[in-house]
């Protein structure tokens, strides 16, 4: 039975169901239970935004609070994954990857290759990403391109509650290290989510909206802005196809190419900074593989090459807007 659920609750439900199904699924992170060693109430926080609230009551042995020590506990999650557990490490904000990246990209991502195919590291690193929360430069980045660049990692960034539940369950059951990025601005976003457990395979994009004139490829928060832009463009008689990549590694090139071959126009929308981004990656791939199908210039709509600003006046223009996306679509139509 489907009912409306927020992305935040979809995460909680996915973890709850997987912990019940498989006792080797554990989660560790800072304040994911909360109040460890303090004299107040048990399960005081359930994560900094309450995403994991209530899980400790049901899965006492599987929910593990950590000291503020990302290098040690992210590394411990990786080590435990190589020793028979299926850990989920919550990094809180993806921006904190800077203090523990070695464990992720030199250890987890490379074990299988370095060890000649003899290692499995079934690990999920959950982290909040993205701007729009007035959280400033060190708590608002996407960083999706950094992870997508690294062979051995899988990268997921859902745009709605339904995809979040299915992709998170898939991530937990997956036998490779998965970076699962939750856009904090979408935590309250509601969609129909079945109560029962289900998975969504990696590498399958979702065509959110069909159209014949232009293809908008995006993921995360900007899926919604792209849909808004597409709705606005219908007034001009322009029908956009909007593709939500859902997973960035692996990536569904097939759906992207097929769409561009139909529409002849590509607009890549990415909340990450512009250089060496998902937008540049998709643009380059399409230019190489479907050049003859293109009827106009490939357009990119991204955050600027700046840190994320604090002031709402600046942050609101940092994130690609529906207007900017619509304008890029129009430019792509000019021959």
């Amino acid at each position: 039975m489907a009912r409306k659920l927020s992305m935040k609750d979809a995460i909680n439900e996915a973890v709850d169901q997987e912990m019940t199904r498989d006792p080797t699924v554990i989660m560790m992170g800072e304040d994911i239970v909360g109040g460890a060693g303090a004299s107040g109430e048990e399960d005081a926080w359930g994560g900094v935004l309450g995403v994991t609230k209530g899980l400790y009551a049901k899965h006492r042995n599987q929910m593990i609070d950590t000291p503020l020590s990302e290098s040690a506990y992210v590394g411990a999650a990786i080590g435990a994954a190589a020793c028979g557990l299926r850990p989920i490490a919550e990094l809180m904000f993806v921006d904190f990857i800077g203090v523990c990246l070695d464990q992720v990209y030199n250890q987890a991502a490379k074990f299988r290759y370095m060890f000649g195919g003899k290692a499995e590291t079934p690990l999920v690193i959950r982290a909040m990403c993205g701007a729009g929360f007035r959280a400033a430069a060190q708590h608002s980045q996407m960083l999706t391109p950094i992870f997508t660049h690294i062979p051995g990692l899988k990268v997921v960034c859902p745009s709605n509650a339904y995809d979040t539940k299915g992709l998170l369950i898939q991530s937990i059951r997956d036998n490779d290290p998965v970076i699962f990025l939750e856009h904090k601005n979408l935590y309250g976003h509601m969609s129909d989510v079945p109560e029962e457990s289900y998975t969504i395979p990696f590498g399958e994009a979702n065509v959110v909206r069909e159209g014949k004139h232009a293809t908008i490829v995006t993921y995360g928060q900007t899926v919604h802005r792209s849909v808004d832009a597409a709705a606005a463009l219908t007034k001009d008689g322009v029908e956009c196809e909007v593709i939500d990549l859902r997973t960035l590694s692996p990536i569904d090139w097939g759906t992207v190419i097929e769409s561009v071959e139909k529409t002849g126009r590509l607009i890549c929308v990415d909340e990450a900074n512009p250089r060496c981004s998902i937008a540049t990656d998709v643009s380059a791939h399409v230019a190489q593989e479907a050049f003859k199908a293109l009827k106009g210039p490939i357009m990119m709509v991204t955050a600027p090459h700046t840190p994320v600003p604090f002031s709402p006046a600046l942050e609101d223009i940092y994130i690609p807007t529906a207007d900017a996306i619509a304008s890029a679509v129009r430019k792509s139509m000019v021959r």
Binding site: I26, C83, K118
Partner: protein, 327 residues
């Protein structure tokens, strides 16, 4: 022969000697073959430190996990990784322990509990916290042992792991192999505070410092530590003061060493010589018995080199495999 004053049976003493000699021969052979240009890449030799790996690993089983360092050959051999597979790996061959994809700095064998040599200093300590956590959660009584050099002991990962292991009361053991040098930099200069035991105390765990050139000192100290970890008594740190017979990597001219230092440690701090003399002088094992092992070890390593050289290279298609379980 009935009066054996050692804490190991004669059979175990011979096993320890064979292990140390195998590591020494493996490393000394690599030293020669590397200089000849037979071996690609970097190698960091463990010669001089054999008593540490051997004394520790004799207390471990395949379920116990270790995380090693860039200077990992000795740990691999002592943990039971096949020396022929190791040699083939170092030669970059398809028959290597990692099918030629890892090389000297990434030899691993998870079924033996060897979680990998590691090119990143200090990186093994968090991994071992995870191995120890898994042992604790799965309840199988295993322990995790993290090796780090005096250089790596200054990494944040190592220090954070000491704290985490204490907070979680993990069956984790942190071994500091203090060979006096972080690459070319002296421990006297680079490690603040005089004592690793004090560092351990600072993180709320027992610490002990032993002479790492004395196999028996290592063996007895680690025995207690492993027992405590298995019984739920939590983590410990052990410093083994040892010596490095070769440079940081092969090709290192070691101009930073004092005059006569290398000759002195080879003459007076050779853990294998010290072991052999003590055991022989006690009348437990004869020179003839030791010599027999020496001969067998030399033959084994020769065979390993011959087989490694003759082994096939990885096929081009191997470049693209083993990145993911499924993608």
């Amino acid at each position: 022969m009935s009066n054996n004053p050692f804490p190991l049976s004669k059979e175990k003493l011979l096993e320890a000697y064979r292990m140390m000699r195998t590591i020494r021969e493996f490393e000394e052979r690599l030293h020669v073959d590397f200089a000849r240009g037979d071996i690609p890449g970097f190698v960091h030799l463990y010669a001089g430190e054999e008593a540490v790996a051997t004394g520790i690993m004799m207390h471990l089983n395949d379920r116990d996990r270790i995380a090693s360092t860039h200077r990992g050959h000795g740990h691999c051999i002592a943990k039971g990784v096949d020396v022929k597979e190791m040699m083939a790996e170092i030669y970059g061959k398809a028959t290597g322990a990692c099918r030629g994809k890892g090389g000297s700095m990434h030899i691993a064998n998870l079924s033996k509990g060897m979680m990998g040599a590691n090119g990143i200093l200090g990186a093994g300590a968090p991994l071992i916290c995870g191995a120890a956590l898994a042992a604790q959660k799965l309840g199988h009584g295993g322990v995790g042992v993290s090796f780090v050099g005096d250089g790596g002991s200054n990494q944040g990962t190592f220090l954070e792991s000491l704290n985490l292991a204490s907070v979680w009361n993990l069956p984790a053991i942190f071994v500091v192999e203090n060979n006096g040098y972080a690459e070319s930099t002296s421990v006297e200069w680079a490690v603040a505070g005089d004592s690793y035991v004090d560092r351990a105390t600072g993180f709320g765990m027992p610490g002990v410092s032993v002479d790492g050139t004395d196999f028996f000192a290592v063996y007895e100290a680690i025995g207690e530590i492993v027992k405590r970890a298995r019984e739920g008594g939590g983590p410990s740190l052990i410093e083994c003061k040892t010596v490095r017979f070769h440079g940081h990597f092969e090709g290192d001219a070691q101009t930073y060493r004092g005059k006569g230092e290398l000759e002195d440690i080879r003459a007076n701090k050779d853990c294998i010589k010290i072991f052999r003399n003590r055991v022989r002088d006690a009348g437990v094992v004869s020179d003839a018995e030791f010599d027999k092992i020496d001969k067998a070890v030399v033959a084994l390593i020769e065979e390993a080199v011959v087989e490694a050289k003759a082994a096939p290279l990885p096929k081009a298609g191997e470049l693209l495999t083993d990145v993911y379980v499924a993608y």
